[in-house]
């Protein structure tokens, strides 16, 4: 499997316990910074309806969809119950020289 690292933004541009939207090559991702200051990435759209998760609220390791409050664990992508039942895909993330990169396969 080949994956290429893509630069998202400066690490400081994402607040702690927050999320940003990242569009690349016709796809959309959500990139998170956890309260423990780690970075994660998932698909950008909710699996219930096609809604950008980056407008939602991050609480601990949960991203809550802004539309109907569907919840996912953004570290694992796991859907945490109604109305969402399909998991999110997650992507590897690294921070180098103060910048966040995600691996898009």
């Amino acid at each position: 499997m080949s994956s290429n690292w893509v630069e998202v933004c400066a690490a400081e541009e994402i607040d702690e316990e927050d999320v940003i939207r990242f569009d690349h090559d016709g796809r959309t991702f959500a990139v998170y910074r956890s309260p423990e200051d780690e970075y994660f990435a998932t698909d950008g759209l909710c699996t219930h309806e096609q809604i950008h998760l980056a407008d939602g609220l991050v609480m601990d390791d949960i991203i809550e969809c802004p539309k109907h409050n569907g919840r996912f664990n953004y570290k694992t992508g796991q859907a945490k119950g109604a109305p969402v039942c399909v998991n999110l895909r997650t992507y590897p993330v690294k921070v180098e020289d103060g910048s966040v990169f995600i691996a898009i396969s």
Partner: protein, 407 residues
């Protein structure tokens, strides 16, 4: 133990799955009068009206069998035999229960004098209703909507997208007079007018009838508005007949306590059909017609059917979509003494409602897309926490509400 759920809507379906999620291994039977397995109603007045077939199911059809939930569709419960602890089906036969959940929902209030068989005068609650309305909404056709509540307004927006002409008639002085602040209702009404919807407020209707190929609305002032289709959206009434005939206590819905228990300890009720005490608002009794409430109460009912005796703690929450606008409301604004406004960029704002003690009791927001969602969600958490946030902080977009929550 056998658990029977009457009403296969959002609430009944959620309760059935939640029973399994809690490890319940007994029999679960979900009985619904409609021909479909549980589906979501919110899309019916939104994009779903424009062509979802089949409806958007609450859960994929095969998941019921996987979870060992028997679903009876097209099956209406005619009565509850509390002595024998069984529900009696309209088609004959009875199903025994140890614990029963009533999730019978609500039905649209009908307009006096209009027959249920009218084809050109409709109401909107079910997938079948939506399909019938959609088939009449051809480009250039004329739709008259009676009632400026959420369903009427959402339908107006969808009908405009489909190219129909829309007149909306509201008896009161403005649209959304129930539970929505005037400033927000005005934004919504303006948006509709810009889209060419004719909104008539403070107009009394004396009669609606079908006529050759269409329908007509006769106004109290003598006016007459002709339509290809009239849709009546003047509120909903809870389905309480089963409960009433079984002698359960009613109070604007099936009356339940803070654990969703009816006056019979083995029978619970949840969702649109029940009224319950709202702890964050001094225990005042309310009945909500809201999607998330139906889910939350379905989940809670499952716990309490199994003996958890957990109280309702959720804060009411509602959303509506019209054109690109989304409106979200958390809490109940009645009794607010102070209202502060927070601007969230172009065309988006939230009104925070505080009571006489400075406690945040509600937040209502409107804006394009999900512009207000995050702050409304945080407001909901502040309400649940009983917070008394500084009004100046609420009004300032630079103050992060998350900070107030941590404070």
């Amino acid at each position: 133990m056998d658990i029977v759920i009457v009403g296969a809507g959002e609430c009944g379906a959620r309760a059935a799955f939640a029973l399994r999620e809690r490890g319940f291994a007994g029999k679960v039977t979900l009985i619904g009068a409609e021909p479909h397995p549980p589906y979501e109603r919110p899309p019916l007045s939104k994009d779903g009206l424009a062509g979802a077939e089949p409806p958007k199911y609450v859960a994929a059809v095969e998941r019921y069998a996987e979870a060992g939930i028997s679903v009876l569709t097209d099956a209406s419960v005619a009565s509850i035999d509390r002595e024998r602890k069984a529900v009696v089906l309209a088609g004959g036969g009875a199903i025994r229960y140890d614990r029963l959940l009533l999730a019978t929902g609500a039905r649209p209030r009908s307009f006096p004098g209009v027959s249920d068989d009218a084809r050109r005068i409709r109401m909107l609650r079910t997938h079948a209703d939506a399909a019938a309305i959609r088939s009449a909404l051809l480009p250039g056709s004329k739709l008259v909507i009676i009632g400026g509540g959420f369903i009427g307004l959402e339908l107006a927006a969808t009908a405009r997208k489909l190219g129909a002409e829309v007149v909306l008639i509201e008896g009161l002085a403005r649209v959304l007079s129930r539970g929505v602040p005037e400033e927000i209702a005005a934004v919504v009404a303006d948006r509709h007018r810009r889209e060419g919807v004719e909104i008539l407020c403070g107009v009394r209707i004396s009669e609606i009838h079908e006529d050759e190929g269409g329908a007509a609305v006769l106004l109290a002032d003598g006016g007459r508005i002709a339509a290809d289709l009239v849709v009546v959206g003047i509120g909903a009434v809870p389905n309480t007949e089963l409960a009433a005939a079984a002698g359960l206590a009613l109070d604007n819905g099936i009356a339940v306590d803070e654990t969703l228990r009816t006056s019979d300890p083995d029978i619970f009720a949840a969702g649109d059909c029940c009224s319950f005490p709202l702890s964050h608002y001094g225990g005042r009794r309310v009945r909500l017609e809201a999607w998330r409430n139906a889910q939350d109460q379905g989940t809670l009912a499952a716990a309490n059917l199994l003996g958890a005796a957990e109280p309702i703690t959720a804060v009411p929450w509602f959303w509506s979509d019209q054109y690109e606008l989304t409106l979200q409301i958390a809490g109940i604004a009645d009794g607010a003494e102070t209202t502060v406004r927070r601007e969230l960029g172009e065309d988006a704002f939230i009104l925070f409602h505080l009571d006489g003690n400075g406690r945040l009791i509600a937040a209502s927001g409107v804006g394009p897309g999900n512009a207000v969602a995050r702050d409304i969600r945080l407001a909901e958490m502040l309400i649940a926490a009983g917070a008394r946030p500084d009004p100046a902080a609420l009004a300032s977009p630079d103050t992060k509400l998350k900070k107030l929550l941590a404070a």
